[in-house]
């Protein structure tokens, strides 16, 4: 194994060697800084062993932004290679690795953790709960995600990245055609983080169904909580097929079985089916919570109740159901027959119905409102046209006869970037700006944010609109180069310029965050946006127990209504405080996930001793948890009073 890694690094592209050196230096720098500032204990006590949903959410957010940087660099490398015909910036192998890691990272290690960050930080605060249903399991989910992402990101310096696309179709992804460790990294890292995702799905369904504040019936629940519920339902039913697809591909590669091989009876189609039974619902997992975020932001910044609440709920649930009946549209061109293709085509178009309803309802929430174009609202407003255009081109792709032509072309690339960036990323950035004060206690600088916004938005259209046209010119996806005679050069160049503009936009966000940590406007009220839902009733950041007293809910926009009543002078509060029960911090989730990581790393290189040691570690941690008597602890009334006095600045 060590020999293999050393050999790989010795022969690697200078770009990769430089990255490896940079990673080692950064690690050394972090270790030095932690030691110099004596922060190890703080890191261990406050973060690594925490079970607090808010801190877990922040860790998801940090990881997601780091991964967004890595995936973004991948994108810029690709766009640089494609900027001109016959470029020699990257060779075929390196390009193949980069587009494979770009896709995988953006979907699984950026979109998913951003969603989980928002869910973790907001859902308990919004429904009036002190934590999620299973805080321990929540920490397990995070650390599984963390170590899955770590394993995946090690691949390019330790042995070689996966290079069969983010879908890793066999037989290309089989040992016969991809002999290196790359695809093993893919299989095992996705498997490890996937287990965490299923656990998160279960955790938040139970949290939402069982832990709402008294009086908050389901139909009085904020739409973000609804959207998370819809998304989690999709998670728990969609991830198992991925688990199976990856496990069987792993068995083929590591143990020589024949599920998807070309010879000995294997059937690659089976993988394609299992993959997309997860893969399509996956994009709804990412987009559903964004619908919720949009609903919160549009309502808050229009100073108006969300329009058509019942329709909004119905459309969320409808999308989560339809999402299971569309997966074949990823392979209309694999000869499923006209009957099957017709069914899945119409089902795919039908997703446009509830989605369209949501757009209309957002518009009518703004209609006759009072619209404040703050940073969150700006991103929400940018989301709508981008997502509408992405949805429209999606309708075209959903129609099987059109898809026969457009499948595998740059039209598809443009379409799904428009829904995943213009949809998911814009929405999640809106959510990040919206809830940032709640997470950290200060606002992000508006001016720098606007620069970021315009660079990113203009860059987005400059980057992806030409790609629709390239699709009509017959440019296929995943080509690392193209001859000048194709005539694709000028549009590709424009697209590359757009990608760099987006990169500048991202840098502005980084600068904005760094600047605002120091100079950002502090949020002393806990309610910087004149919010409507319960999270804004708490100080920013919220104390670790969230609610000193659990409120009783009467209406849909609970905090808005409380404020109205307070204005009318009819609100009497101040009840007696009671001791609060809190879960203990614990190192087990971290250690257990570390054991998973060790096991996975061993399997990547067929080192079964290491893999077994890791698995034993996992089992020991599980048994430890099962047998330990962890009843948590109580916060006394005095402690609560002290904390409340300090955070509320009384």
């Amino acid at each position: 194994m060590v020999h293999q890694i050393v050999e790989y690094l010795r022969n690697a592209d200078p770009l990769i060697q430089m990255s490896a050196a940079a990673i080692v230096l950064t690690l050394l720098g972090i270790i030095f800084a932690l030691t110099y500032y004596k922060k190890w204990r703080w890191l261990w006590r406050e973060w690594i062993t925490t079970v607090d949903h808010k801190k877990i959410g922040i860790m998801y957010l940090i990881c997601a932004l780091l991964m967004l940087f890595r995936g973004g660099v991948d994108a810029l490398l690709m766009r640089t290679q494609l900027a001109f015909p016959n470029m020699n910036f990257l060779d075929s192998q390196h390009y193949n690795e980069i587009f494979s890691t770009h896709g995988t990272i953006m979907i699984l290690f950026v979109a998913m953790p951003l969603i989980f960050a928002m869910m973790n930080i907001v859902v308990p605060l919004q429904i009036g709960a002190r934590d999620v249903a299973f805080p321990f399991l929540n920490a397990v989910s995070f650390w599984l995600f963390f170590f899955g992402a770590l394993l995946f990101n090690l691949s390019f310096v330790l042995g070689g990245s996966p290079d069969a696309g983010w879908v890793s179709y066999p037989p290309l992804a089989e040992l016969s055609h991809s002999p290196g460790p790359g695809i093993n990294y893919y299989v095992l890292s996705l498997q490890i983080s996937g287990i965490g995702s299923i656990a998160t799905g279960i955790n938040f369904i139970v949290t939402i169904l069982k832990m709402r504040a008294p009086g908050m019936t389901l139909m009085k629940m904020p739409l973000f909580a609804w959207s998370v519920l819809a998304s989690c339902i999709v998670i728990i039913f969609a991830f198992p097929p991925l688990t199976v697809a990856l496990a069987l591909l792993g068995l083929d590669r590591i143990f020589g079985t024949h599920f998807f091989t070309m010879l000995h009876g294997g059937n690659p189609m089976m993988y394609v089916n299992l993959f997309w039974i997860w893969g399509h619902p996956e994009v709804y997992i990412a987009i559903l919570p964004v619908y919720g975020i949009l609903s919160e932001i549009v309502s808050t910044f229009s100073k108006k109740y969300i329009f058509g609440y019942k329709s909004m709920v119905a459309s969320l649930m409808l999308i989560s159901v339809i999402s299971y009946f569309v997966w074949v549209h990823h392979f209309f061109t694999m000869g499923a027959g006209p009957g099957v293709n017709s069914f899945f085509a119409v089902a795919s178009m039908a997703v446009g119905i509830p989605t369209g309803v949501k757009v209309f309802n957002w518009l009518f929430t703004m209609f006759r409102g009072r619209i404040r174009v703050t940073l969150p609202m700006l991103w929400a407003l940018a989301f709508i046209p981008c997502f509408v255009i992405g949805g429209a081109t999606g309708i075209t792709l959903a129609s099987a006869p059109s898809d026969y032509q457009l499948h595998n072309s740059y039209f598809v690339i443009a379409h799904f970037h428009q829904t995943l960036i213009g949809g998911a990323v814009f929405g999640l950035l809106a959510g990040m700006y919206y809830w940032w004060p709640k997470m950290f206690g200060f606002k992000l600088n508006e001016t720098l944010g606007k620069w970021a916004f315009w660079f990113f938005n203009i860059g987005f259209y400059v980057c992806f609109m030409p790609q629709y046209a390239l699709g009509f010119m017959g440019m296929t996806r995943r080509v690392y180069t193209y001859p000048a005679e194709t005539g694709w050069g000028s549009l590709n160049f424009i697209s590359t310029v757009g990608a760099y503009l987006m990169g500048i936009g991202f840098l502005f966000i980084v600068v904005q965050v760094l600047y605002s940590i120091r100079y950002g406007e502090r949020d002393t009220t806990g309610d910087p946006w004149d919010g409507r839902t319960l999270e804004w009733s708490l100080p920013s950041p919220a104390p670790h127990y969230n609610f000193a007293q659990i409120p009783t809910i009467n209406g849909r926009d609970a905090w808005w209504e409380m404020k109205q009543q307070r204005k009318a002078g009819s609100l009497v509060s101040e009840n007696e405080l009671k001791p609060i029960h809190m879960p203990n911090r614990t190192p087990l989730p971290f250690l257990m996930s570390l054991a998973f990581f060790v096991s996975g790393f061993g399997l990547v290189f067929n080192q079964f001793t290491i893999a077994t040691v890791g698995l034993i570690g996992v089992i020991v941690c599980m048994l430890w948890r099962s047998l330990e008597d962890d009843r948590g602890y109580y916060l006394s009334v005095d402690e609560i009073k002290q904390t409340e006095a300090s955070v509320r600045g009384a």
């Binding site: 299973f134 369904i205 068995l251 599920f259 010879l263 209504e561």
Partner: protein, 204 residues
Amino acid sequence: MEATEKTISDQKPQEHGMEEEEKYVLGFWLFLASDLVLFASLFATYLVLRTHTDGGPTEAQLFEIPVFMLETFLLLTSSYTCGLAMHALKNGHARRLIGWIAVTVLLGLAFVGIEINEFITYSSEGATMQRSAFLSAFYALVGTHGLHVSLGIVWLISVAIQLMRKSIQPTTARKFINAGLYWHFLDVVWVMIFTVVYLMGVMG
């Protein structure tokens, strides 16, 4: 408007009392739903690949009726004894509960033992997981179930230890309820394996 910011007077702290235990039961049902989709995926794979024998042994040549009938008998019986344990829990008989868990575990161990023996026999006849797509799918499906059963055994033992230490209280009761639910679930999956893999297999 007193109602607006009033705390519930009888609010129970987290993780205590049967009400809180309900969260775990709901969570566990959701896990089972998810696990069922996992098995459904494996069943689908098996059904697609069962004829892909690559000139190697077929289902009819491989499966021996007495062996899988015995496996079925053992697992169904263990489900029954697990039910008796549940009955003991309801009546609050801690020792009887532990006793029935022990019987369930023993039956489960016998099942796993016979299954391992079955796999070893097949492999020695050349019917390994690497021989053909059919055999890959067979071992994956039946083996995954076997792994689940093994995990269930470890879990039941751990619950029994806790019952011995702490007797019946909300936490231990909930843990047994979930472990028992898991055990019954595995039984249901086995009935499907029995039908789809073994019965359909020997009937050709």
